[in-house]
């Protein structure tokens, strides 16, 4: 092994890996590049790789729509729904993992299957419900909807995570005189931090990117960044660069956030798939 690690196979592997990565990343990179072009540069043929970057598009976007408002809404709704979701999902996952009953598996599967109905189908009922309860165009309404639509995945992730914790540790704490609360506070919670973190991260990403409900249930006040995009794909006039800029601003925070948290995310994303 020590002799020479730079074997042809190794070099080839590195090369191919980088090639594949660049190809797969290219569209996203291109989006970022386009965001710094003028509209004419954006559609120039052949495509420009070298150009003088401009911030004009970002200015236009900011001028036209209050980016900070949308960003704030995105942040608040996704963080709130993540928190709320974890609060609901954790006890359920705990109960399922440690007090396995006859129907535990079925309940889990049922929860997952609720996610399979196309959202469009439920639009009218949900819209009517939101309207009668005065939750249209409120962050509260969005938080509730996000939470509920992510809940099944959260329960499942946490369940797979909790299942890996040996029951004996909890028993030990009971023998040590722990009540349900102290068992949760001192043993369960610290042990599941990793699972909670990665579940939270995934939910955060999903909520941030949720477009259907945020578009349909919000107007001027509660719109999230996903709805911002909907105003930049105009059928009149050139818009690629502006669209790119708006997209860049909308996905930027979550992508960067994703980069930083990817290690953490991966750990829990395995749904107990890896022993």
């Amino acid at each position: 092994m020590k002799a020479s690690i730079y074997t042809p196979a190794y070099c080839l592997r590195t090369l191919v890996a980088w090639l594949v990565t660049l190809v797969l990343f290219f569209p996203l990179g291109w989006l970022v590049l386009t965001a710094f072009k003028t509209e004419l540069q954006a559609i120039s043929v052949p495509p420009l790789l070298l150009f003088t970057p401009t911030l004009e598009n970002f200015q236009i976007v900011q001028e036209r729509s209050d980016y900070m408002l949308y960003a704030k809404n995105s942040l608040i709704t996704s963080v709130a729904s993540t928190t709320l979701g974890l609060m609901l999902a954790f006890p359920a996952a705990y109960a399922m993992a440690f007090f396995k009953g006859k129907y535990t598996k079925d309940i889990l599967m049922w929860m997952l299957s609720t996610k399979m109905m196309p959202a469009v189908g439920a639009l009218v009922p949900v819209y009517v419900m939101a309207q009668t309860s005065g939750l249209l165009d409120t962050r509260t309404g969005l938080v509730i909807v996000f939470t509920l639509s992510n809940l099944p995945i959260m329960v499942w992730m946490l369940y797979s995570y909790l299942k890996e914790i040996p029951n004996e540790i909890l028993e030990a704490s009971r023998m040590d005189g722990a009540t349900l609360w102290s068992e949760f506070r001192y043993v369960l919670l610290p042990l599941t931090m990793g699972g909670l973190a990665s579940t939270g991260l995934l939910t955060l990403v999903l909520s941030w990117n949720e477009a259907f409900w945020s578009l349909n249930l919000s107007a001027a006040k509660a719109g999230t960044l996903a709805t911002l995009i909907a105003s930049y794909s105009s059928p009149e006039g050139l818009f690629w660069a502006k669209l790119s800029a708006a997209s860049f601003m909308a996905i930027g925070p979550i992508v960067v956030f994703g980069w930083f948290s990817q290690k953490q995310l991966v750990q829990g994303l395995t749904f107990g798939a890896v022993k």
Partner: protein
Amino acid sequence: MSYLQLSGVEKLFGEHRVIKGIDLAIQQGEFVVFVGPSGCGKSTLLRLIAGLETIDGGSLQLDGRDITHQPSSKRDLAMVFQSYALYPHMSVFENMSFALKLAHVDPAIIKDKVDRAANILNLTNYLQRTPKELSGGQRQRVAIGRAIVRAPKVFLFDEPLSNLDAALRGQTRIEIAKLHRDLGATTIYVTHDQVEAMTLADRVVVLRDGSIEQVGTPLELYDRPANQFVAQFIGTPQMNVVEAAKLPSVTTVAGVQVPALGSIGLRPESITLVQAGQGAVQAKVELIEALGAETLIYVTTQNGAQLVARLNTRTELHVGADVGVHIDADAAHLFDANGRVVAAGAR
């Protein structure tokens, strides 16, 4: 009255009756070991005492108080789990002090108690480490430490050594014995390793299939097993048990006639190999295990009976050699067709 009293304790898992009415009285300070083959209900019985499983029948009394239906956190028992069940996110100190912290004991006292326990267990230098930074043996000691610190009424151990390697196991066994002698705590210890049972126990409880087969001191069980099961379970290598028909030379043991369908039990040390032609039976050497201080010789008799003999000396024999087998019939045990002891040689 006894300190811990089990009366007709039963446990059902679904339809399956796992613990079948156990009566047992344990005295204060006693070291009781549960042994038995895998699946016989040792762990379950221990967990019933611990309150980790609900008792389905009978009652449990500790120090004169009925604790049959108390939650485990109220029973004042401490348990050492097979997997140690240390809290992986806490330091050794926190692990050991957790119970006291929950009981709102004064921090200064906690520190004092933990330090004392750590000292006894040679853990003083590791108090700030987390469990995964410790070796198997050290983890084991932390688990014990966690129990000691609480000074509980009864210590429960569920196969605490089975995750250790042979050398460490021997060593830790001795430590546990010393600890018990020093603390004098009432202890219930589950194992399926009969060497542990022999060396640690004041009394051994042999379980089989959810019922008690025999209770007694280790040497009582060794010398006067109540039945073939206990006889073969205790002692290593196992007692040789041979159908009576295959050992026609043995006719009476301690004045009792050998029953026709019964069998004869012989400890390896009551078999002596002599020159071929001599002795009660003729046999061939199958395998020799020379362990230095002792030698085990596996032979097959002409009748097809397989016997192990234990020698405290070296042997000149080699595999395939013909030997005579001398049997110390005075030390033999006689079992009837159902495996019950009918007679036992005086020892």
